[in-house]
Symmetry: D2
Subunit: 415 residues, 4 copies
């Protein structure tokens, strides 16, 4: 057992960390000011700061670092990934944590943000050459962004087989109908393509009824109806949209992997994505813990700094223990993915999806409490961080579904 | 022991409940639409719906129901309180719960909202005839609103002796300087007066250094600098403001009770207010539990309604148990206030201030989770309710301070 | 709403409290010494101290106080119940809490211990005159003790319909076969009778298959196989036994209420019993909290008394809040039982059965922790108290079953 | 990062696991029967089974496996350690978990039990050649056992500087006075020596007042006053004793390391010991989880196996997540000890000491609950396992002290 990072991971961590501290943090407020100003003017617009940061990051080779080893040639070399070869999940995970420290900017800066990363992975693994040329390369190149259409408003999407929007093959076309919501990213001006998951054959068995199709967002019949808030936040300019599809027609060549094979793709897609989400959340939790301690040292009540009052120090200890345990679990899941693939890490990936958002939520809540009323306000980033953690207890499968997976596999050992 | 409500309380509960259901709920969305539209246009404005609802409520005698028995004559009769005499805390508490079911409207509709209620109580108990005529009567009459200036941005306000803004007597005037924030209500166009708590004599003993002064918001030197969000919400048109005071001068006759007597007032002020807050939160928790069950019955996953899946039914049971226990504790605290005054209920009032916001927050969080992603969105009221509960873990004293009070009194029994 | 006790309850509380303090506590250690000495000598024997205490209690009319109003004439007068009439559940509940402070002695001293109380209630409500003369009167008179045979080793007894031991009517006899365990009280030399619940007609509907029969423990074919420990404790001389029944024959006149009517009896039997258990546990929790604070004040570490270290004071506050909430819930359940009978308090009785043992367990655990290693030892009563609370999370239905009842009733409101 | 065990650790794990399964488990009940029979006869005696198992284990080289690398030559070779060289903490940790599966036997069988392991480490690191010959060699050889005298009845021993028993140098002797309790192991007939920690110079600075001395238990003036229970369990034949020392005189050459250097020794002693304790507890937690699932699959209520009812499957998932996280944290702490010594793992060692006993306690409690009343009884090992976990929340420092260490180090990063 060796808990030290690989030399390549350690080197990249130093670069990413420096970039976050030296380049992103200083312009963080200006970026959000730009976006808020645009929105106040009735517009969802990207700040020019983003383009500048992306150019700088790419120039340093800090670009597409998520690209998974084994599927990356020749893309890693062509699209700037540092060193020209993909990283293992284990090696990338600590970088995701560092990006998570500036989670509302850094993943975009490094072209490592969801859902683009998952979509690029799908295209890498399952895309035809034509699909790759059309969508993967512009995504890797940072020219466009993408969305993923899965969750629907009318059904319990926690059971993915409930999905009712349709993708029916009609000759050499696919006809798309229905509504998706919480499609993250569709608010961004650069968002051009959605991977849409729809019901194609209701008579097939439960896990072969659905198909994934590439649907350009400018296709006739696609309408972004509105943007949805999560705990009062819209995450502009990215956003979470409700999108309707009315007799949308795309070529059958836009189907990914094959009709009825959506679940096959979905299963492979989510492992690394959950590692990324969880590590970013741990980056957030670390920031929250630091803020809590700094505040607790600088404010005094009843004659003592807050960290010395009542159970505050115990809560700080509990936060450290919870974060360290959760990180080790994510790193172990990443390692299991690396050595044995998604089927080797089924339980682990669900375990981290349960525990990490809960840990992050609790640590951030504790940090808010130590800040007093100001902790709730726009003056500190804790409310946005909390919202992000809370939303991730539902996104990519609610806690309850993942607990169910873990329980099923555990009980299965004794059947 | 008799857990049934008094006949008067039962009768009023029926009236308030019917008013909330028949009058308020049908216009709830329209009200919020008005306010949002105003804000989108750059304005914080009250909706005309509020005035109409208030007129109706007042016509039914459902007005100023919070007015505490014993201090209410002749106001109860004059300002419409049902039956012409104040209610005990025990009798009012269930009405506050019912108002809490529509918590962002009902308390205002019935002229029973914080901080006006607490301010009116202070004026009733400690105001001079002149002060009552100038401020209490317009408040009871619903012509103006008020704010309370206590929390400050630069210090840990959980220890109220930290308050640094000054209120210095200078001849027959008081000179006010400093900054208050999270002053709830200052965003409302009708808000005209603040009860300001400031340091008047730093050399006095810890609990006699501060003074309460009535400060009209249109006094020269008073500036509302900005509105503060709580978890991304601004609660317009009420709002929580940051207010600066620069050499503000008001007549010394605006002092309440006397120089250096702010803590004496504060101690008596908060008991009933905390009963109100807690009962309203329990109204919210009941709504959340109902929403959770209805959603859990109507959505199906893995072949079953959500309420039958995993631990969902246990969480529903736990919510019921937690709410019922918390309500009994609040009612018992109200009864102790009634029979023995604030000093008789010191521990109980702190106990409810700890437990109720936490219970409400957890029940609402559970309801969000049962709703899936939609639970986070603007389509259901749960995110606003959650924010309200979370904020009340800090407002009127953080959990930690109230736990400290309970512990001190408990340990004191054995000294 | 009036949270004060009735005058009769207040008067009795003073008497019971004084008796516990003045008579029971001084001989507590001597009593346990006697019992332990007997056991070391291979015997389960009652200490003579018990008889002396019972005589004194009875002489003061502190005897059979549990006797439920409405079913008690003429027994209350004849068998010493104070004042000659039964108490309501509300009035008895605070007395049970006081007895709980010396829970391993006081309930026996006052002839108010489980399962005798529940058995006497059953006989009062459902017994024939002959059954009452034979078993109720000696029980009320304190001449004998009794057991209740429900739980079985081979099935999940949490679902009472699983019970497999049989009670088959054969002419004018009933034939009993099978095994019961955790039959509390069978270790005591005075235990003479068991109310046995057995399967009498497997073809009847689920709730009419079982019958309750009075089985004298000296009937041929009844064997106490062994005594069972709970968390390493045997609770001698009372004990929890495993009892086998092999072709045991008793007259059919020993059937209670009628063949197939066991569930009807069971439903009514458990409401008051759960009130008693819960109040006694709250008495224990209060003792534990007092011990914790006294220890926390008297021991010093790192220069401070333990109560001032870290989160200890918060835990004391949390204990006070949890106990007070739980007590109010039990009192409210008792009141609902009094005003509307068992069907009026179904949810409440299950609610208290979930929450109170958990609260007691946690408070006692906290008290152990504050005592350090000594808290685990024979030098303080905390380990025995903890075991008692833990066992009550299973006895009379596990937490999970009662949560299920609460959830079912709650969800049922929306069906 | 590489989460796979080293080849040597993997090989040994297979051997230890087979030995536990094939040799220890079959005689587990017989062993406990022997011990209980002896105790019923008034004696604390070892079962002959222990000697037989130890001989077999030693013959396979499964002996003294805890011996730390770097301090072990020539002992590892001489005293049977497999392969003739010590194991790193990382390599030993998984073996400790396997031993923990049969925790009341296996550690003794492999001569890897506390407190002998810690005492042997102290002798290895700090003992003179004479001390090693006299006490280390017989311990390694399994001829004797040992105790550690630290905790005292009259003070809060969580603050070790409170220790009041004295060890005063008087010429070439040391004079020992005072009382120690919870001295584990003194009940065993083979226990011959105690490492005693006593106050030698009250005027020295806080961490140089105490001295460690080797005190043979047959020294005049040493009296084992009584054995202490932990949650009603005596752990015979090992036991936890209260030992008084009255003018006990031992040669000054029995001092370890030097006068006033007890804290220096204590600091180094506890790291590996806590790794061992925690890993053994995780072995217990795994057994409890297996028992819970097996029971939950085999028992049926309300028409379903228990694992499918309510929140049971969620609790199983939570147990798996908690165990896996805790294990990774322990392994990471072991690795940090290996690469940087005790000062490199101060926070980590305290972190695991907080989290692991709590996780084990909760998992075992869950398993008890799933077993119903039988889970509390002597028929399943869960009550003994629970007691062991509970006691370890106090032994080697209570949760609160270790949380304090973690908090202090965490806050220290920001000072």
């Amino acid at each position: 057992m060796d808990f030290s990072p690989s030399p390549r991971a350690a080197e990249l961590a130093a670069l990413v960390s420096a970039f976050v501290t030296d380049e992103i943090e200083p312009v963080h407020d200006a970026y959000h000011h730009d976006v808020a100003a645009a929105r106040a003017a009735g517009e969802w617009a990207e700040s020019p700061i983003m383009g500048e940061l992306r150019a700088k990051a790419r120039a340093q080779g800090l670009w597409n670092l998520f690209l998974p080893v084994g599927h990356d040639q020749p893309y890693a070399e062509k699209y700037g990934t540092h060193g020209g070869a993909g990283l293992s999940n284990s090696d990338y995970a600590p970088l995701a944590e560092l990006m998570g420290r500036a989670t509302f900017l850094a993943p975009y800066v490094f072209n490592c943000n969801a859902p683009d990363t998952g979509n690029m992975e799908v295209l890498l693994k399952y895309g035809t050459e034509e699909q790759k040329a059309a969508w993967l390369e512009p995504l890797l190149d940072g020219r466009i962004r993408s969305a993923f259409g899965m969750t629907e408003p009318g059904v319990a999407s926690s059971d993915a087989t409930n999905m009712a929007a349709t993708a029916i093959v009609d000759g050499d076309e696919v006809v798309i109908n229905g509504t998706k919501w919480f499609s993250t990213g569709v608010g961004h001006p650069d968002c051009k393509i959605m991977i849409f998951m729809g019901l194609s054959d209701p008579n097939a068995d439960r896990h072969h009824r659905h198909t994934m199709v590439l649907v350009p967002l400018d296709s006739p019949g696609v309408t972004i109806e509105r943007m949805l808030s999560t705990m009062n936040v819209y995450d502009e300019p990215v956003g979470h949209g409700e999108v309707t599809f009315t007799d949308v027609r795309v070529p059958a060549s836009n189907i990914l992997l094959g009709e009825g094979r959506a679940f096959e793709i979905a299963q492979g897609r989510l492992g690394p994505g959950r590692i990324h989400h969880c590590m970013r959340l741990l980056g957030q939790a670390e920031v929250a813990l630091e803020l809590a301690i700094k505040r607790g040292l600088s404010r005094t009540a009843f004659g003592k700094p807050l960290v010395k009052l009542g159970g505050n120090s115990e809560r700080i200890a509990d936060a450290r223990i919870a974060i360290d345990q959760a990180r080790l679990l994510v790193l172990s899941a990443a390692w299991k993915l690396d050595v044995g693939g998604p089927m080797n890490a089924l339980s682990e990936v669900s375990q981290i999806k349960v525990i990490v958002p809960n840990v992050a939520q609790q640590v951030i809540d504790m940090a808010i409490q130590l800040h007093g009323a100001g902790g709730l306000s726009q003056d500190v980033p804790l409310s946005a961080m909390w919202t992000n953690a809370r939303a991730l207890r539902l996104a990519d499968g609610p806690d309850e579904v993942h607990r169910g997976v873990v329980a099923r596999l555990e009980i299965g050992k004794h059947l």
